[in-house]
Symmetry: C2
Subunit: 419 residues, 2 copies
């Protein structure tokens, strides 16, 4: 079976000067991969007609599918649509369905439709219009010399709607696609190179259809097996066999054997056991609460948090004794233990975690340098605390602390018998 390959072209000066981080490509890559299309390249170019046309020319030469995002907004810095019209030798016409969609959207939000907005209804006559239920700029599907070129708006939730509603079904109908399956596990506590040495023979014995990747992730390493083939049953059986061997070999450091974040793994455990959690965060400033509430349904297991940045909040809300703070300091075992006790009481949760540390770049001392962190996790029965020393910049120290706390709490809960 011929491999169907794709390339993504994202358009916008803001991507090149770093004002916007490109999250669209990651989403599109995931979705293409899931249906068996091999994404060979991602390219970002500026709002420059010649650059857009050159990228399109180059990518259509080597790929079956080109997905273009961005450059479709209503304002003057957008030049993608005319460039595409030219490239496919079309002329611009008004699409009545798109025009009605634009008018309807402005009616619903009670704002006047400007001439600029109505320009969204002009599309090249040589494309199939993909309706955008979430915004004014339509998607466009072109074909030329065997290559499919799909243009989508850059607004993430509009692009996502179009990918799900029109692009994936269209690609699946248009091309014969292979089966691609992944198995992923997350490890903590062993470096990438040590893991590699430990599993080298397993890796060397993988069949050609299965590939292993190491994905370092904030103090942890994710291992991913990817299988590619034509017949699903035998492919999955082979993949699962090798994944079983891998899981067995790294059992000691394995956190979870699915492609989940630590927050998701902890959420699921709490949900299964019908237990709740609360957090008392000093140095992590609310990021753990944020991680636990990012996905829907958090109210089933998440009670709340006290972000106790100021010592007065540690005392007043969490009840950390003034003497503890005075004697041991805010970054100490005694303080995080008291924070857990306070969180269990004030948030009324079954489990709680607490963080306190010096994230940098300032605030370090000889005795407690930047990166010094105390974490405690506990229940009404017992509390455990551990010290960490991270050696990175502020952003990374905060994320490492959050992940360490989630991992400690997950292990702590696993030690309790399920009810």
């Amino acid at each position: 079976m011929k491999t169907i390959t794709a390339s993504i072209i994202t358009i916008g000066d803001e991507l090149l000067i770093g004002q916007t981080i490109d999250t669209n490509s990651a989403f599109i890559g995931q979705e293409l991969n899931r249906i068996g299309v091999w994404l060979r390249r991602r390219i970002a170019v500026g709002d420059v007609r010649a650059e857009i046309l050159q990228a399109l020319e180059e990518q259509s030469r080597d790929n079956d599918i080109i997905i273009i995002t961005g450059g479709l907004g209503p304002t003057a810095d957008d030049i993608t649509k005319p460039a595409l019209c030219h490239y496919f030798n079309g002329r611009m016409i008004v699409n009545e369905e798109v025009r009605q969609n634009v008018i309807g959207i402005f009616e619903r939000i009670g704002r006047p439709v400007t001439e600029v907005n109505l320009k969204q209804a002009e599309v090249p006559d040589c494309c199939t219009v993909l309706p955008n239920r979430r915004g004014t700029a339509p998607g466009m599907w072109f074909e030329k010399e065997g290559a499919v070129v799909i243009s989508l708006p850059g607004v993430p939730h509009e692009m996502k709607g179009l990918i799900t509603d029109s692009v994936l079904p269209g690609i699946q109908e248009r091309f014969p696609l292979p089966v691609i399956r992944h198995r992923t596990l997350l490890t903590a506590g062993k470096g990438e190179s040590e893991l590699a040495a430990h599993i080298r023979d397993l890796e060397e014995n993988l069949p050609a259809s299965i590939k292993l990747a190491y994905l370092p992730a904030y103090g942890m390493v994710r291992l991913r097996l990817t299988a590619r083939g034509e017949e699903e049953t035998s492919l999955v059986a082979e993949l699962d066999r090798h994944f079983g061997l891998l899981r067995e070999r790294v059992r000691e450091w394995m956190v979870i054997d699915e492609d989940l974040s630590l927050a998701e793994a902890l959420s699921r455990l709490l949900r299964e056991r019908q237990k709740t959690v609360g957090t008392a965060e000093s140095c992590t400033g609310g990021i753990i609460a944020r991680m636990l509430t990012e996905k829907a349904g958090a109210s089933a297991f998440f009670q709340g948090s006290v972000v106790a940045y100021a010592n007065s909040v540690k005392q007043e809300v969490l009840g950390v004794p003034a003497e503890t703070l005075a004697l041991h300091g805010a970054v100490s075992e005694a303080t995080v233990r008291a924070m857990v006790t306070g969180a269990l009481r004030s948030l009324g949760s079954d489990y709680a975690l607490a963080t306190s540390g010096i994230m940098g770049p300032d605030g370090g001392t000889e005795e407690k340098p930047v990166g010094t962190v105390w974490i405690a996790v506990g229940s009404r029965e017992r509390i455990e605390a551990q010290q960490f020393r991270f050696r990175f910049d502020r952003g990374r120290n905060i994320e490492l602390t959050a992940n360490a706390a989630l991992n400690l709490l997950r292990r702590f809960i696993l030690q309790d018998e399920p009810a």
Copy 2:
């Protein structure tokens, strides 16, 4: 002056299948732009030797500088270094300085150095090694037929250190560079197309050296002027004149006339006035606390937060009366007002904000559909509340709510006289 152009090639299957979001390119783009290098393209390719070589070949044809990130880790899925060695007709040799750096790093963290780690010290003999103070994989600087090719590790904080320490100074020494300056302002409350219609004449009168871009950002629009020239004084004067006109024209919707996030703008205002803030977050789940503590120095103005996800936490910690919740519901004006009062008291801050809403996808009712949000901001003197209706997915609704709350609070504080 000839424009010096660059291209970034990021390497890694994880980027193509969407397991990793590429934040490195945004950082590199920003830094290149700052020193006057025009980033023409960003390309992501998989861990495939032929793809890496093809991208390198294509990009060196059109650009002065190629920056490659990723593909330098110690494990077997990394093939970049041998590919580069081949491309530049070199052979691999052991670099003693890099070897000592690797050994030193493992000594400091108290782990054994494996053979795999020591492979990091093997580099092509045709490059200049750029020392990596933050990790084991060195940077490499190659030159061929007038093009500079720089290879950097993909770990963000290692890459950043190398860019700052070696790459930028090296490029500035090697190439004559123009002056590039940006001026950015943030607006809220007017759509991109309405803004465009409102300032069309200003845009049409911009000189060729100045370019305007519209950057939509979570319910707001950022406007950016970019000037490019050879002589700094006159360029900046011209830029400032046009920026002044733009600022005047959009005054009504302008939030801030610098390239700052709302959280940064609010932080600065609080710092200037020597006031403190606390947050009481229900539906935003801690993201506002996270936004306010992301940058160093937050302890000067941020007291803490109560993430009151469960109603019991709203009652127990924030003192929201049970009757208020029973009568009006958690998503109501009365509840967010009581949450502000409770936050001011329990967190001891000068100002507080509170959020409560239905973020979706579930939980909506006829009367309060998904996207219904109440936000209150206040001080000991007065409290203001406002209802919002967002119509997006969960993630976007949460970020829109956070930004709306930060903006409301900033306006609220600006109404107070500075002390």
